[in-house]
C-alpha cells in the first residue's frame, strides 16, 4: 500500500514537472523568446564559412567585435553595417548567417 502511494506520488510529481516544463516552453513561444546572446567567443573562434571571412574582412577592419549581443538585434546590426561599410547584399547575408547560424 505504502509502495503504491509512493509510486502514485512519483507519478504526480513527474506529471507536474512535465506540465510545468511544457507550460514554460509554451509561454516562451507565445511571447518573445529569450535566446542565448551572440557571444564574442563565437565570433572570434569560428573560422568556418564565408560569413566569418566577410566579418573579419569588413567589420574587424574598423572596430573590435562586441562582446555579445542579443539575436533580436543581429539583423539590425547587419543592416546598419551594410550601409556604414558599403556591403553588398550577398556579403550582408553571409555575415548574418555567420552571426546566427
Amino acid at each position: 500500500m505504502k509502495k503504491r502511494s509512493l509510486s502514485r506520488l512519483r507519478g504526480v510529481l513527474a506529471l507536474s514537472i512535465s506540465w510545468m516544463a511544457w507550460g514554460w516552453g509554451g509561454s516562451g513561444l507565445a511571447q518573445s523568446p529569450s535566446p542565448q546572446p551572440v557571444k564574442k567567443a563565437t565570433i572570434q573562434n569560428s573560422q568556418a564559412g564565408d560569413g566569418a571571412k566577410k566579418f573579419d574582412e569588413n567589420c574587424s577592419r574598423c572596430h573590435a567585435a562586441p562582446e555579445g549581443f542579443s539575436p533580436r538585434i543581429s539583423g539590425t546590426i547587419v543592416r546598419h553595417m551594410r550601409v556604414r561599410a558599403s556591403l553588398s547584399k550577398k556579403d550582408t547575408e553571409a555575415i548574418l548567417k555567420f552571426l546566427n547560424p
Partner: protein
C-alpha cells in the same frame, strides 16, 4: 527520473509521465536563436581628460546611436553627441568654467534599393577620407581627438541632402565601394552643413588586407573650393598590426596622418591581461598654405607625434591614454590625454514572437 522509466514496479501511466518529462527536457533545452531586426540603441559614454601645454580640460560625453529598420528595405539611423567641457577660468581667476555642446552627427533614412545601391536622405556623415565615417565614434577611435586635417573635405562633418552609396563589386580578390553626395547649406545649430558635393571610391584587396581610397569634395559656398584626399589602410594578414594613413589637400591647407596600432593578442590571447593592451603611434604633419580662420585648423604649420596605450577591459570598457609632442613655429608643447569609454548595445524594443 530515468529510474522511473526502468522501474519494473512502476505502473504504465507513470512510465508514460516519465517519458513525457524526459521528452520535455530533451525537446526544450534552449530557445532557438533567431536573427531579428528589432530597433537597437548603441553608443558610448566616456570621460576624457586633456592637458595641452598645461591647460587642462575635462569632458564627460555621451554619444547614443539609434538604428531602426522599417520593413525590408528601409533603415532609420541617428547618432548624436552631448558633452560638457570643463576648463580653468583664465585671467588669474580660480575655479572652472564650462561649455555645453549637443548635436546630431547623422540622422538619416536609408533605402536599400538594390544589392549594390543604397540611397540615403537626411543628415549624413560626409564621405571624405576614412576618419569621419569610420573612426569618429568615441567607442571606436584609438585616440581621443581626430586628426588635424579632419575638417578638410568634411567641413562640419555632416552633409544635409542626399547620398548614393554601396558596393559596386565584391569578389574573392577585390571589392570596390563608392559614395556620392550633394549637401545643401544649413545654419541650424544642431544640423550644421555647408552646400557641397563630392564622393569617394575605395578598392579593397582582402587577401593582402590592403585598401586604397580617394575622396573629392567641391564646396559650393560663396567662394567655391576643391578638396581632395587619398588614404591607404593595411592590416598584414595573420597579424594584429593595423596601419592607417590619410592625406588631404585643400586650397588653404594640406597634411597627412599615419596611425599604427598593435594589440598584444599573441601573449595569451585577446582576453588575457597582456592581450588586452594596445600600443599606438600616430604621426601628423599639417601645412598651412594660406590663412583661413574659419576652417577649424591651426593657423600655422604643425607637427605632432603621439604615443598611446589603450587597454580593453571586460564588459566593453576601454581606457585610452596618450602622450604627444606638438611642434609649431611659436613653440612646442606636450599633450597628455587619458579617458575611459563604455560602449553599450542593446535592443530598444521587445522582440517578435
Amino acid at each position: 527520473m530515468l529510474r522511473l522509466c526502468t522501474d519494473s514496479v512502476t505502473p504504465p501511466p507513470l512510465r508514460l509521465a516519465g517519458i513525457l518529462l524526459l521528452s520535455a527536457c530533451i525537446l526544450y533545452p534552449v530557445p532557438r536563436v533567431v536573427a531579428q531586426e528589432t530597433p537597437l540603441l548603441s553608443g558610448g559614454v566616456g570621460f576624457f581628460a586633456r592637458s595641452n601645454g598645461g591647460d587642462s580640460t575635462f569632458v564627460p560625453v555621451i554619444s547614443p546611436l539609434l538604428a531602426a529598420p522599417l520593413g525590408n528595405s528601409f533603415l532609420i539611423e541617428s547618432r548624436a553627441t552631448i558633452l560638457e567641457s570643463f576648463f580653468p577660468k583664465g585671467g588669474g581667476q580660480s575655479g572652472y568654467d564650462h561649455t555645453h555642446f549637443s548635436g546630431a552627427e547623422f540622422m538619416q533614412l536609408d533605402y536599400l534599393a538594390t544589392s549594390h545601391v543604397t540611397i540615403v536622405g537626411g543628415l549624413f556623415l560626409t564621405p571624405f577620407g576614412t576618419y569621419n565615417e569610420r573612426l569618429s565614434p568615441i567607442w571606436i577611435g584609438n585616440f581621443q581627438d581626430g586628426p588635424i586635417i579632419l575638417p578638410i573635405g568634411t567641413g562640419t562633418g555632416s552633409g544635409l541632402g542626399g547620398m548614393v552609396r554601396g558596393s559596386a563589386i565584391s569578389t574573392e580578390s577585390y571589392s570596390v565601394a563608392y559614395a556620392a553626395y550633394f549637401s545643401a547649406n544649413s545654419t541650424n545649430e544642431n544640423f550644421p552643413a555647408t552646400r557641397s558635393t563630392g564622393g569617394r571610391v575605395q578598392v579593397y584587396f582582402p587577401k593582402l588586407r590592403l585598401e586604397f581610397g580617394a575622396s573629392y569634395t567641391r564646396s559650393l559656398a560663396a567662394v567655391e573650393t576643391n578638396s581632395s584626399g587619398f588614404d591607404v589602410w593595411w592590416e598584414p594578414p595573420h597579424s594584429e598590426l593595423k596601419v592607417r594613413s590619410e592625406y588631404a589637400h585643400s586650397t588653404h591647407a594640406q597634411g597627412y596622418w599615419i596611425e599604427m596600432d598593435y594589440r598584444l593578442s599573441r601573449f595569451g590571447g585577446p582576453e588575457s591581461v597582456i592581450g588586452r593592451v594596445e600600443p599606438l603611434f600616430r604621426l601628423q604633419q599639417f601645412f598651412r598654405n594660406s590663412a583661413d580662420p574659419t576652417d577649424g585648423m591651426p593657423a600655422t604649420d604643425t607637427n605632432v607625434a603621439e604615443f598611446g596605450l589603450d587597454y580593453r577591459l571586460p564588459h566593453e570598457v576601454r581606457i585610452l591614454t596618450s602622450y604627444g609632442r606638438q611642434f609649431t613655429p611659436p613653440g612646442d608643447s606636450n599633450i597628455w590625454r587619458a579617458g575611459i569609454v563604455y560602449r553599450f548595445l542593446f535592443p530598444a524594443w521587445k522582440g517578435k514572437s
